[in-house]
């Protein structure tokens, strides 16, 4: 199926409108539709098409890999689809400028070429290629800026394609009515799909938050009670660059939780509130005149909408291109942001904390652990102590009596993991220490919360920044002492040494790779968007020009000879005779001419059958002229040519009229 004139050009321009890449779109549309303006063609063989397909495959794979490593997955797929049609341009150009009406399906992939087929599937590149442009336009996701324009364009272009390929002989009114129904149903359907997803996101947060290394501000599942060795990954998750000095270790807080259920910490004060913007890309977290210290944080959110890592006492956030920032009463700050790497600058004041006053939840002890906690609190004599001293006693208790361990042995039956930690083993990882500290503080009457985040302490000379690895993820307690929240980290300070012990030689290699990826990401981000488009386009154009030169070299001679029979006008003498219109009109009316029947026999047969509206005499005369126009070596005079045109037009008009009259009478 060949695409109608200008259809591909229109689809490409629509892509340009959606993506804003007008330059590329206009160039591609001209390159493809330009072929219609001339009859010059080149003769390309199946192996030429195979070579073009191979070039396209290599380009798509290479671009796919580069995109994957610079942007990570959802963004990479979107970009790839957006530019896929441009990368497939060589194949489409070969089809547009070549003499072949269609190509074998097997040229597209090497694996298909190996299969020997008796009847190879052949196809015209036109419509599939238009579909690739359409998908590219959809990947631009311009729905926010242009509203239903995408749907309108999609429907218009699809209607164009459907109309030019509609089958003969269906009821004339059915087509527009049915298309209208489909357009309406499609509109309702896509609005419904979108609404459904938004509803699901709003009502089932865990469904979207589950899995991965993403921080869930609503719930933190701990590894309490897990038996055996816990291994942290060495993957680098954050890069922290202090603007001045920085206290080490610095705790970067992500989320706090106030209720301990089972082995999970849950945030009961869930409601998130929007933080008002104080500038184009800055937000004020506290009403304070700015912080004394500042750090630049490079983060990566593979799935979008990240929870920010902030030091205690953060006052403002700058340089973050988020749509919106929200925070909950427990101090978690979430940004509304697309997936991919992002960077922000945090100013903070260590002595200041903007979180709200404690609530009833911050003193609650879980029923399962009450007995053990009360027992330990009694033995430490916590009840009678003022808050500062209670904090100091708990800290020294853990420092002196407890040991950091990643390995957990089998515990006695009937004892919770926390009870075994406090009374039995006296060893565990940060989650044990933090949970026990929070619950003991609560037993001492000090409001406390369980905080999670990262501990910043490893400086990388290569990157001239602190790197934070997955295994630097940490948990600690926050306590309300003297009217403000302070951070209490009771995990023995040697925990990092224990964590680092498992590093292998691979870690250095993985670090280098991570750094290269990060550098590349920064470079592409800093590069202006138009610069990128110009770069991509010029590289593509140079490649395309080279490829075209390779392909067309030495084929011109053949093309002149081949182009003549391939061109629509000069296929054979008299191919543009208007009598063919009469034939196709009669075919629509059900009097098709089999290939085995001569025109004259066919006409006589129809004349005998009696077709309403057919002027038989005129048709005979037109056929006589048509025969002469086709086969007379002398050709026919201009006047006779004109007569053939008029006669044919008259016959077709007569047939149309009769058909309309028939339709009216049958409707009446």
């Amino acid at each position: 199926m060949k695409t109608p004139v200008l259809f591909l050009g229109a689809v490409i321009l629509f892509w340009g409108a959606q993506t804003g890449q007008w330059m590329v779109a206009v160039a591609a549309a001209l390159a493809i539709e330009g072929a219609r303006a001339t009859t010059r063609r080149w003769e390309f063989s199946t192996s030429d098409f195979s070579r073009a397909a191979d070039v396209c495959t290599v380009v798509v794979l290479a671009v796919g890999v580069v995109l994957y490593f610079s942007f990570g997955n959802p963004a990479a797929i979107k970009f790839l689809f957006q530019w896929l049609a441009v990368m497939l341009l060589p194949l489409a150009l070969l089809q547009a400028w070549g003499t072949a009406a269609d190509i074998e399906l097997s040229v597209l992939a090497r694996s298909l070429r190996r299969v020997r087929n008796i009847r190879p599937t052949r196809f015209n590149v036109g419509y599939p290629y238009a579909a690739v442009w359409m998908l590219g336009a959809s990947a631009a996701n311009a729905v926010n800026s242009s509203g239903p324009v995408f749907y309108a364009g999609l429907v218009t272009l699809a209607a164009w394609a459907l109309w030019s390929n509609r089958p003969r002989g269906s009821l004339p009114l059915a087509w527009p009515v049915l298309l209208g129904v489909a357009v309406f149903a499609g509109y309702a359907g896509h609005v419904g799909l979108n609404t459904l997803q938004l509803w699901l996101e709003g009502n089932v947060p865990e469904w979207l938050a589950g899995g991965g290394e993403r921080t869930d501000p609503y719930e933190s599942r701990t590894d309490l009670g897990r038996i055996g060795e816990i291994k942290g990954s060495s993957a680098i998750v954050l890069r922290v660059r202090p603007e001045g000095g920085m206290a080490r270790p610095l705790l970067l807080h992500r989320a706090s939780y106030d209720d301990y259920v089972g082995s999970s910490w849950v945030a009961r004060s869930r409601a998130f509130a929007v933080i008002p913007r104080s500038g184009a890309a800055s937000w004020r977290l506290q009403d304070a005149p700015g912080g004394t210290s500042g750090i630049v944080i490079d983060d990566n959110a593979p799935r979008g909408n990240p929870v920010l890592s902030l030091p205690s006492g953060a006052t403002r956030i700058d340089g973050l291109s988020a749509v919106e920032l929200r925070h909950n009463p427990l101090g978690a700050v979430q940004a509304e942001l697309g997936p991919g790497p992002f960077r922000y600058i945090v100013r903070y004041e260590t002595q200041r904390d903007g979180q709200g006053a404690p609530g009833e939840m911050d003193l609650r002890l879980p029923r399962v652990e009450v007995r053990v906690i009360e027992e330990v609190a009694r033995s430490l004599g916590l009840r009678s102590l003022p808050p500062e001293e209670a904090v100091a006693r708990i800290s020294s208790h853990f420092l002196q009596e407890f040991r950091y361990a990643l390995y957990q042995p089998q515990r006695p039956a009937g004892q919770t993991a926390l009870a075994y930690f406090l009374l039995g083993s006296h060893e565990g990882h940060c989650e044990y220490f933090a949970t026990a500290t929070v619950l003991l503080l609560r037993a001492a009457g000090v409001p406390a919360r369980y905080a999670t985040g990262f501990s910043v302490q490893e400086f990388s000379a290569r990157e001239n920044a602190y790197v934070v690895r997955q295994r630097h993820a940490h948990a600690w307690a926050r306590a309300w002492v003297n009217g403000r929240w302070i951070e209490i980290d009771t995990t023995p300070p040697d925990w990092l040494v224990a964590e680092t012990a498992g590093d292998s030689a691979w870690t250095a290699l993985a670090d280098l790779w991570s750094w290269l990826r990060y550098r590349w990401g920064r470079t592409t981000e800093e590069m202006d968007r138009t610069d990128g488009a110009i770069l991509v386009t010029s590289v593509a154009l140079i490649l395309a020009a080279w490829f075209a030169w390779r392909m067309m070299r030495g084929r011109e001679g053949a093309s002149r000879k081949q182009a003549a029979p391939a061109g629509p006008r000069s296929a054979y003498p008299g191919a543009d005779s208007e009598f063919y219109a009469v034939e196709s009109r009669l075919a629509i009316l059900g009097s098709a001419r089999p290939a085995s029947e001569a025109f004259s026999e066919w006409l006589e047969r129809i004349a005998r059958g009696g077709t309403p509206g057919l002027d038989v005499e005129a048709a005979r005369e037109a056929l006589r002229l048509h025969y002469r126009y086709r086969f007379d070596p002398q050709g026919i005079a201009l006047q006779e040519r004109e007569e053939l045109r008029l006669l044919s037009a008259r016959i077709v008009a007569g047939l149309r009229e009769a058909e309309a009259a028939g339709a009216r009478s049958s409707a009446g």
């Binding site: 979107k78 990947a139 631009a140 509609r166 359907g189 059958g609």
Partner: protein
Amino acid sequence: MIWRLSYRLIRAVSTAQFLIARRASRAGLFVLGGMVVSAALGIDTTQTTAYQIFAFLGALTLVALATLPFIGVPVTVQRLLPRAVTAGESFSYLVKLRNGNRSALGDIVLLETLADPRPPLQVFRSLRFPTYRGFWRLTRARQVGDIPEVTVPGIAAGAESGARMEAHALRRGVLHFEGMTIGRPDPFGLFRAVTRVTAAENLLVLPRRYPLPPLALPGSRKYQVGGVSLASSVGDSEEFMGLRDYRPGDPLQRVHWKSYARAGRPVVKEYQDEFFERHALVLDTFGNERASPAFEEAVSVAASFAYTIDTQECLLDLLFVGDAPCAYTAGRGQLQPSALLEALAGARLLPNDGFVALRESIMARRATLTSSILVLIGWDEPRRRLVWELRVLGLPLLVMAVLGEPPADAPAWLHVLVPGRVREGLARL
């Protein structure tokens, strides 16, 4: 268990594929494919607008499918098949259509329903792994013919029209037509309302043939016991029939000297009698499954001989073993050569241990034979023995063996034909 399960699964998938291909036009398949791709890309509606494409294509599909029950197919068909076709060749035939409706019909799609070529479970088990690709390969190997769909532009009310179906015969055997599916497209041209007409017919696909070099069959004429029945008169009648060129073995008494003098080459008088040249064309049908390609080539070689040998002047016996030993005689008022091809179209590969039946069949006729052409598909002890026995009898032989690789001890008179390069091998005869 795993075989049965994967067989069921693969079979179900291929059935679905078949039904979709019947019901959807190319545009329809394109729309379905577009739905799959846009669903994958648009799964997150906040990331791309591909879900709008998905929704629109889905709506289009549903609307098109909903119109199908309202589209009738009031068409009757009649096939006009040729008598036989040749494997590996394209052929075409006419289909006559009649519009039984009182209004004109638009586009009509004709699809032939051929016998199901999918392998049964036992055949599927012969694969090394239960894969779709293997299943597909087996299906391909069992397919006798391939007939693409044809679109007829339209038929006037109550009128007749014709369509030419272009087909391709893939391998020898019987092409079984079960019926014909006639489709009419929905208003968008995506899917079709179909009706199935039972029109069972068989078409014989003859074996593929190779060109042969000019052959001079060796051997002399032999007295045919009871062979008089092969002539038009009975007994010792020495009824003069005509003159013909001398052939080795003709008695000197028969030379027509006058004609010899006139023509400058020996000419003999021919009588209607029981002295004939009688050649045997022996096809070896015994081998295991691996010999299957060689067997197909051997059938083609035998067909080439059966068709090329001029049976005006001699008799040709085609000997092979099917369910029972078969012998077909062509020439001199007997069968036409084409009948031998029809017999060969039905030849099947049999287990190797039945070779003795073929030997007996040849030996029973040894006295009447002038020469023998053997087309073998192996070179093992029983075959060597047969050839040796025939040589001892002094019967002139042309021995060909279709073998994947020539045996090391092949004697000079054995013509080894390699599958795929048979044409070359035959040219060297």
